[in-house]
Symmetry: C2
Subunit: 244 residues, 2 copies
């Protein structure tokens, strides 16, 4: 809501993956697979995006897909009636923006949560690379297929506590896959974002977290939550999640 300039076209630099903390676990650059090393040649770095600022928004021309380099971001759709829908939260190394493939503009927005750095993969460079090296295209397709499956899993309707538990466990698992601390989950987004994403009222999110704390499942502090009883939490949430 604060400043609303679009960072999309500004401050692009050729990036050096060397030295990136997430090099080994970065989906966007293929986790170091031989045939995908070309991805590291075409990546650009986007200037730091401040809290609440847009990386892109609906109708922004579709020129590139992105990954988080450091920080966290959310994808938001604006439906016909103007109401926001938080689609996803993005962690470092996770690709997003692939949903605009085949269009000439993005259909939803990506907004930084806290100060975030992004990596940018220009779509024309990606196409050129993919034509030379089919493995790149298959990699993209695998990422997209995983996104479809991830979304399929959440398409069931489950009680609010199950959804909340699944959300926390999912975040924890994704952090584990990035070799980040899977016990302590920073939640830089607002409660209303979590609520919106889980299709709950903010009040309900608050109540559920309080209840989970009362049950000794989690600890809560200003920056996020700490998982205290991951086993029970997972048993609750696994009514919706399977192994990704």
């Amino acid at each position: 809501m604060s400043s609303e300039r679009s960072a999309c076209q500004q401050g692009l630099q050729p990036a050096h993956c060397t030295g990136c903390h997430h090099l080994d676990t970065c989906d966007a650059t293929g986790r170091g697979a031989e045939a995908l090393l070309g991805l590291r040649q075409i990546v650009q770095r986007v200037a730091l995006v401040g809290d609440g600022e847009y990386l892109y928004r609906p109708m922004t021309p579709f020129r590139a897909i992105y990954a988080v380099r450091s920080g966290m971001a959310k994808s938001v759709a604006l439906d016909a009636s103007g109401r926001e829908q938080v689609l996803d939260f993005h962690l470092p190394g996770e690709w997003f923006g692939l949903d605009a493939i085949g269009l000439d503009h993005h259909e939803n927005a990506v907004i930084s949560l806290g100060r975030t750095q992004f990596c940018r993969f220009p779509i024309d460079a990606l196409m050129a690379l993919g034509s030379r090296e089919p493995a790149v295209q298959w990699h993209l397709m695998q990422v997209m297929a995983r996104q479809i499956r991830h979304r399929q899993l959440r398409s069931g309707d489950h009680p609010s506590d199950v959804r909340m538990a699944a959300f926390l466990i999912d975040l924890s698992d994704r952090r584990a896959a990035l070799f980040l601390d899977a016990r302590h989950l920073p939640l830089p987004m607002q409660r209303t974002d979590i609520a919106n994403h889980l299709q709950l009222a903010p009040e309900t999110v608050s109540r559920l977290l309080t209840r989970f704390r009362g049950q000794g499942l989690i600890g809560i502090d200003r920056q996020g939550v700490t998982l205290l009883d991951g086993v029970t939490l997972r048993r609750l949430g696994c009514q919706v999640l399977e192994a990704a």
Copy 2:
């Protein structure tokens, strides 16, 4: 529920797209685009699948992706607790099964609604074709991207009547795109399938259809519904749908 043999590996024949009713509108064979004609060389035809029979199910090895040739089918996920979730209904020419790309087995089931014919695209032939002809891979990616967007649209939470209206309008629009009758919608699936898909109780589906009929929006007969006031229905449902 009836017979449960898997038709996946049986009765495969080289197909001839020539003569297929949906040749011009078939997403799976690229709507006749030059660079995608190779798709018509690798397609196979699957033996007729009877009502309620499985085309594939979870844990079926992932060997091919499919399209409906004639009839209708549903995709169903079985979540951890064994409860079914109807993910999608498939119309002729619509590709499905792409969500298993990158895995060695399918994660959900496809079940025939009525007697249905399927086209089969073996994944190894598809990969070979895609390596020779990058346009094929881009086409696949565009189809997947469209599926992601389609799913994003439905991820908001809307009142039951909006969801129902959106469902009917979506079906109608997809039929129009296939040059099928967009006013009369055959609904070969059970009410429980529609309910499950829309995350409603079967009773609610029944009540909503009855209410819509009372408002003069639709007519109901045994094989499906007829749209009588598409404008009002669309205004209701467009709170969730945008142009695909």
